[in-house]
């Protein structure tokens, strides 16, 4: 008898080429060096007196001192071992006890971008700067008085390659089975370095998602436009409508690789204020959404912890385009010169959701009948 055999190549040796978010920029602006374990090494992030944030290799090229334990002096980071100074551009900015700096003394500096109140670093195994047009778009609500402040959460995931979370982009069915959502419309577009998911759905009568403040059993219509801009940074614009009120949310779902089999998952939320809403209430609303998103990620992590990596998933017609997504994702793991047209050519895939919606509605009705109710958010955490 023929049976399907799961295939899985080991995770890639290299780390994806692209912009990676390291979190909210303000967290790094306290005049101290910060350690970030990423890309199989340790980075030092610091703010020089010029105000800009810099990211350097965490270890000093002199004798390997740990720069994250150093001190910011002027516009440079000073090594705790022998006080060599390193500027944000990677150049040695001085050796107080030496007559002169060795010619060409330079450490690895990572290109940075501060935008949307967040800090991004550019990773490229080939060492090239980001090409024209490959950037992180501006988010209009970020920093706007009409929106809340960012929430920011992180979760370290060990034992999984970060491609697992990227698979979510096309995985319509898991939104029902893992996240208690009920997708009714689902479409993907991959093009260039961007992968988009268009999603519409409704809340379930057998589950309370908590994305909109209010009672447990109100109907919520959800719409989302989520796009990965490069390998690791997704901006998700969400509209949740209940009883004529729409909550507008921007959700960041991003990560950076720590090692070959570990990554830091991060998420941040801003919500648009209702007319007359004060800052504290808006921030509390964002926190409530972030809480729900966090619980959602915990549900994903539960699956990842025990699932097998799989390169040859067996798909049905109601599954999204997993293979085409992975073909798109592959572009970030090959040299720039090796990026094949099929990795970046436009591809669209719209799922026929009719059958799934019918079956899911029946399942929800049966749950309601049986008195089963799922809650993403423990009662104690619910606002209002």
């Amino acid at each position: 008898m023929n049976h399907r055999v799961i295939e899985a190549a080991p995770p890639p040796e290299r780390f994806a080429r692209g912009w990676h978010c390291l979190g909210l920029a303000d967290t790094y602006k306290d005049g101290k060096p910060h350690a970030v374990e990423a890309f199989g090494t340790k980075l030092v992030v610091f703010q020089g007196e010029g105000g800009g944030l810099s990211v350097l290799n965490g270890y000093c090229p002199h004798m390997g001192g740990d720069l994250t334990q150093g001190t910011v002096k002027g516009d440079a980071i000073a090594c705790p071992f022998h006080d060599w100074r390193w500027g944000g551009d990677g150049k040695c900015a001085g050796i107080p006890y030496a007559k002169r700096v060795p010619r060409g003394a330079r450490t690895l500096a990572w290109p940075t971008l501060e935008r949307n109140q967040q800090l991004y670093v550019w990773n490229d195994p080939e060492g090239n700067p980001p090409p024209e047009g490959v950037t992180i778009p501006e988010i209009a609500g970020a920093g706007s008085p009409e929106w809340s402040n960012w929430t920011w959460n992180t979760m370290r995931v060990d034992g999984s390659h970060c491609r697992e979370i990227v698979d979510n982009v096309v995985d319509m069915a898991h939104f029902f089975y893992i996240h208690y959502a009920l997708p009714t419309y689902f479409k993907n577009v991959f093009e260039g370095h961007v992968a988009t998911q268009y999603y519409e759905g409704v809340s379930r009568d057998d589950a309370y998602l908590g994305f909109v403040p209010g009672t447990e059993n109100q109907k919520i219509a959800q719409r989302s436009e989520a796009a990965y801009h490069g390998p690791s940074y997704m901006i998700d614009y969400l509209w949740n409508e209940a009883e004529g009120t729409t909550v507008e949310t921007v959700l960041i779902n991003c990560h950076y690789p720590i090692g070959r089999n570990a990554f830091m998952l991060q998420w941040g939320v801003i919500v648009k204020k209702f007319p007359g809403m004060d800052d504290a209430t808006a921030d509390a609303m964002a926190a409530q959404v972030a809480e729900g998103v966090g619980l959602g990620f915990m549900q994903d992590v539960e699956i990842w912890k025990s699932k097998a990596p799989i390169d040859n998933p067996l798909l049905c017609d109601q599954d999204g385009p997993v293979y085409q997504l992975r073909r798109w994702y592959e572009q970030f793991y090959v040299d720039a010169a090796e990026v094949a047209p099929e990795m970046t050519d436009r591809f669209e895939f719209e799922i026929d959701t009719a059958r799934a919606v019918q079956v899911w509605e029946q399942e929800v009705a049966a749950n309601v009948e049986a008195g089963i109710s799922y809650s993403m958010i423990p009662k104690s955490m619910r606002a209002g």
Partner: protein, 76 residues
């Protein structure tokens, strides 16, 4: 996948429909950058992946279904 030509700009894409609501479209290299509907948004610096579809192409695909040049398997 079957070729379908956009009646507005002539671009030839490959289309598969496993049912009426399902659509899979593979664009050839460079074609999206040449799409007249996408052009203003591209010029405004927006990534074309953030445009769900080209309406003219969608209409062309629907027309191909109607005239039978793009077959859709019967729903079972």
């Amino acid at each position: 996948m079957r070729p379908v030509d956009c009646r507005a700009c002539g671009v030839r894409v490959l289309v598969e429909k496993r049912s009426l609501p399902h659509t899979s479209v593979q664009w050839p290299t460079g074609a999206a950058a040449a799409c007249a509907e996408f052009a203003p948004r591209v010029a405004a610096g927006r990534a074309t992946a953030l445009i769900p579809h080209c309406a003219a192409l969608r209409a062309s695909i629907e027309q191909a279904v109607r005239d039978g040049s793009l077959e859709v398997p019967a729903d079972v």
